[in-house]
Symmetry: C2
Subunit: 234 residues, 2 copies
DNA sequence: CGTGTGATTGACGCCTGTCAACGTCTGTGG
DNA sequence: CCACAGACGTTGACAGGCGTCAATCACACG
């Protein structure tokens, strides 16, 4: 089980904005040779906060949540990782232990690339190095933005922000259904609040006709109004 | 006015952990030649959120606060920059506009280095590139940690955390006086709370004999106990 | 000495976290 | 097929943390 067709980097280049887009064919071949890919199932832990890691992951499909464990074991979700993203590279670069845990929330096909490959590519291919730098820098920008939201917005505004972020990241289908399934608790762990607060605010949003709820499915009916709520006092 | 002795990179290498520590003498010479250094006075704005920048800064002395402007113009301080740190490089790398504002809070001597130098060094010196990557990655780790604090700790715990962070970053003198002067409002803008809350909690800490207050000076009397408060439920 | 900025204190009330109880759904085992 | 357990979702009650407003004080500076 867990046997899948191994994604060929060459093909991934056509499917999404791969971190390997600037490799020459020889370099790409070495990645293809050294990587090991497999299917990870929902609930699998990719790496654990505090552990050292020996490589990073390139995501071909699926969704992974990255979280830190805070007060009384409460998860704080930092970001989501999906197709085309890379995972676990930060701690390699900073030469620290992992500062977060990565857990699969939708079955994912991922390729593991040993850290030696990362560093040898960085050294031999300046465009690849720049690509890594750029991704890190962008992630830093986003993290800083989240920090301000967390510090200054109330729960209602943050929940609206999160819904918008999820809609942008995972998109809506033709029925405007948000293409990611999260428990109420997970939503709370993004927003940084209690599960009950999320539930109450979701029903408020539903009453105000901004969203609709079908079990765990969230239908986004009025993105503009959500945008307005999220930037209320901005 | 504002004329000072221009810091020589060669000397800075001996004074602190310079980002240029891995340059060869030729590269160091080109930085020395291209940079422009001067004294910035308290209150000076180095760059402004939303603007494009054309280079980055290497700090020789002084303190700069980096903040984002949030709800109703409220500053949220992201980090402090001091001797040996670099400033404004993130947006160069990500090729975005500045996502924050940098303002001098203690007279600072800083060198401006054009972005072309940054990129040419990154391309020609892999160790320099790694150094930049590493600094970005570490900053990202810190930002993520702050995010969790902000999401999960209450104001009391956050204020304790901030005092500890300040003590570590700017150190205490022989009388245990914190070596940075901040207004109550600035403290509130780090903690992410109202000025009045900071004032009230500071007096509580003082009553509990954890700190002492002499005007704007903060004397840290019991770092261990502050540590305990900041990680109360962890 | 007036003016302005920052610091402090008190009053007040809303937001939001916590606790408890209950409803819903799914899968499992008898 | 039914009973049950367990996870998740929902709702209500309640209290306390913390933000807001207003008044006053302290201090520096032109």
């Amino acid at each position: 089980m867990n046997k899948i067709e191994m994604p060929q980097c060459e093909l991934c280049l056509h499917h999404f904005n791969s971190v390997f887009k600037n490799l020459n064919s020889e370099q790409l071949e070495s990645v293809n040779f050294e990587k090991s890919c497999r299917l990870y199932k929902k609930g699998d832990i990719i790496y654990h906060e505090g552990n050292r890691t020996s490589g990073f992951y390139c995501i071909s499909s699926g969704i992974i949540k990255v979280f830190k464990t805070g007060i009384e074991g409460r998860e704080q979700i930092i970001r989501f990782v999906k197709k085309g993203d890379i995972l676990g590279y930060r701690s390699l670069i900073s030469k620290e232990a992992a500062c977060s845990t990565a857990k699969v929330i939708e079955d994912a096909v991922m390729c593991f690339i040993p850290s030696e490959i990362l560093f040898s590519l960085v050294k031999s291919n300046i465009d690849f190095a720049m690509e890594i730098m750029q991704r890190t820098a962008k992630e830093l920008g986003e993290s800083n933005k989240l920090l301000v939201d967390m510090a200054q917005k109330n729960v209602r505004e943050r929940l609206a922000s999160v819904l918008i972020m999820l809609a942008e990241t995972f998109e809506l289908d033709d029925n405007k259904i948000l293409q990611i399934n999260l428990t109420r608790e997970e939503l709370a762990n993004i927003v940084g609040t209690a599960t009950e607060s999320v539930i109450r605010l979701l029903s408020e949003f539903k009453q105000d006709d901004l969203i609709d709820l079908k079990g765990r499915k969230i239908i986004i009916k009025n993105l503009d109004e959500l945008e307005e709520i999220s930037t209320m006092y901005l």
